[in-house]
Amino acid sequence: MSDYISRADLLSWLEKVSQSRDLVAPVKIEDLTLFQKVERVEDIVFDPGNTDLSPKEFFFPKSEVLFYVDRSDGRVELVPAEVEQETVIFGIRPCDAKGIAVLDLPYLEEPADALYRQHREKTTLVGLSCVSACPECFCTSMGTTPDDASNVDIMLTEVEEGFIVQVVTEKGKALLPEGLLSSKEVSPPAAPSVASVPSEGIAEKMHQVFDSPYWDRLADRCLHCNVCSYVCPTCYCFDVRDLRSGGRVERVRSWESCQSPGFTKIAGGYDPRAAKGPRLRQRFAHKLLYFVEKFGVTHCVGCGRCVRSCPVNIDIREVIQDVQGLGVKSEA
């Protein structure tokens, strides 16, 4: 027996949820599917396949005010931003949920990032298992699976006319009213098979091929457009600036990418990563080597977004494959 909810009951529950909280879910916007605050639950996209942008922006927004400077009464006071709004993210896929668990590692490590932690505390994740795999994804090679419920609060798996419900955390339990779920004799569909990449031992291989000319060759066609970082659920570099808005000074943090020229340029003009090769290598070394050394997991969850979005087809699956090969060839 499984806990079960019909599609109609699910939608009316979500409707109720949206009355007291921000309900965020995949919706169609022109030809993109994006996580957005939902106005009408009928707009929610349940189709297989992942959103064009990951839901990381609900924890680490593209651009976010950290504090503003209050200069009233001739005094100076800093007023920090606070996250007040309770949010429910519905329809998050296992790879993106894992992506948030990966973001937790640097951001919640002491001293924890205050705003990230507040977003995290105020947000409940309702996941949706993947019953079919996207062509570009490779999650099973990167530490998660299409039905991995370990990084959400509630997990749903689509079956005939409705969904099997797994209540994973207390936070998830608190969101479900008594009597909403029924018991039903259904078993979940078999998890789809996902393309695999040879990720085994990749950190060690990255170490060995760090100085290979491979990186310069690969980077030659990179446009440093930064798209790979912006679509990625785990990329977390940021920039901080002061902006004037409505007559007051705000300190704003925004997404940055290691692919930007000048990302590492210091006073005096010296830039240790001025060339494209070392810059692109930084992306892969951070994901497949440094993060693994520091936190024990890869900094890639295999969502496939960068594969789909890179205008010049720089493909992390191929990079992993190539690196594994380079390690054994003397040509490296």
């Binding site: 100076v76 800093l78 002061d242 210091i266």
Partner: protein
């Protein structure tokens, strides 16, 4: 020091601004909250972010010493927007301070050893608290040689302290410039050349170098010729920094974060980094 929001600066007041050179000013900064002031402790080599609200914040090495409990001091060279805004501030202005961040110079390991402190330009700034600490506890350390170099005589930082440094027991002060002027009677030579000429002995000694990457590069070559091992050479790495907390990933070099694992490294540690900056 623990804070709820490590990206939120402490408010502080510019007590005093001193012109050190035509483009470097020393800022004496008093933290506004007495409790914060009392608990704000730091070691030579650590740094803070200073905010000029409306322009932004930048990292600067602390040039004062924590144990003296006075105002925080940073020496700032005007190079761009934030440093420009700080230079435009008058005493009394409200600024922000975050920190202290980073590791520090291993003064405990310097004890009983001869020390060569070599700084070029504004790179000399983080060395000043090392010198102050040594001179305040002079008997703990061996011979001290200070080499301060700059482009021109007026660019030498901390000139008001030169006399007291030179007069300290078992201490030598060497000054050098790339180009002299009418009144300059001292050395005119690049720092690496002076290091070769002075011929420091590596025996029971430590060399500490800070300065522009190019000066560090050539000074290292000379120190190695003199027989210094990588473990006897201490330096600092600079990186672009936006947080000081190991979060923005801007200062990531190899598996290290300069803001947390550094900025102070021995050459031995640097040579083991997978990526060379």
């Amino acid at each position: 020091m623990k804070r709820d929001n490590p990206l939120l600066p402490y408010l502080a007041t510019l007590d005093e601004v001193v012109d050190l050179t035509p483009d470097v000013k020393l800022f004496r900064i008093e933290l506004n909250d007495p409790e914060v002031r009392e608990s704000f402790d730091y070691q030579p080599g650590q740094f803070v972010f200073v905010s000029a609200f409306g322009t932004g914040e930048s990292p600067f090495g602390l040039t004062s010493v924590g144990y003296r409990k006075g105002p925080l001091e940073v020496a700032v060279r005007r190079v761009g927007t934030v440093t420009g805004s700080l230079h435009d501030l008058e005493p009394g202005a409200i600024v922000g301070v975050r920190g202290p961040f980073g590791n520090h110079f291993p003064l405990d390991e310097f004890k009983g050893k001869d020390l060569f402190i070599i700084g070029g330009g504004i790179g000399f700034a983080p060395l000043r608290p090392v010198i102050t600490s040594i001179l305040d506890h002079r008997e703990d350390y061996g011979e001290l040689t200070i080499l301060n170099g700059a482009r021109t005589p007026s660019d030498l930082v901390f000139a008001p302290e030169f006399d007291s440094w030179a007069a300290a027991p078992r201490t030598k002060l060497e000054l050098t410039v790339d180009a002299g002027d009418e009144s300059w009677t001292g050395r005119v030579a690049l720092i690496p050349r002076v290091v070769a000429e002075l011929g420091f002995s590596p025996e029971n000694a430590i060399a500490v170098i800070c300065g522009p990457p190019i000066m560090i590069h050539f000074t290292l070559i000379e120190l190695k010729k003199l027989g210094f091992a990588d473990s006897q050479i201490v330096t600092t790495l600079e990186g672009k920094m936006k947080c000081g907390l190991g979060k923005c990933a801007r200062c990531n070099v190899g598996e290290k974060y300069i803001c947390r694992d550094g900025p102070v490294f021995t050459m031995e540690q640097i040579s083991q980094l997978i990526e060379q900056f």
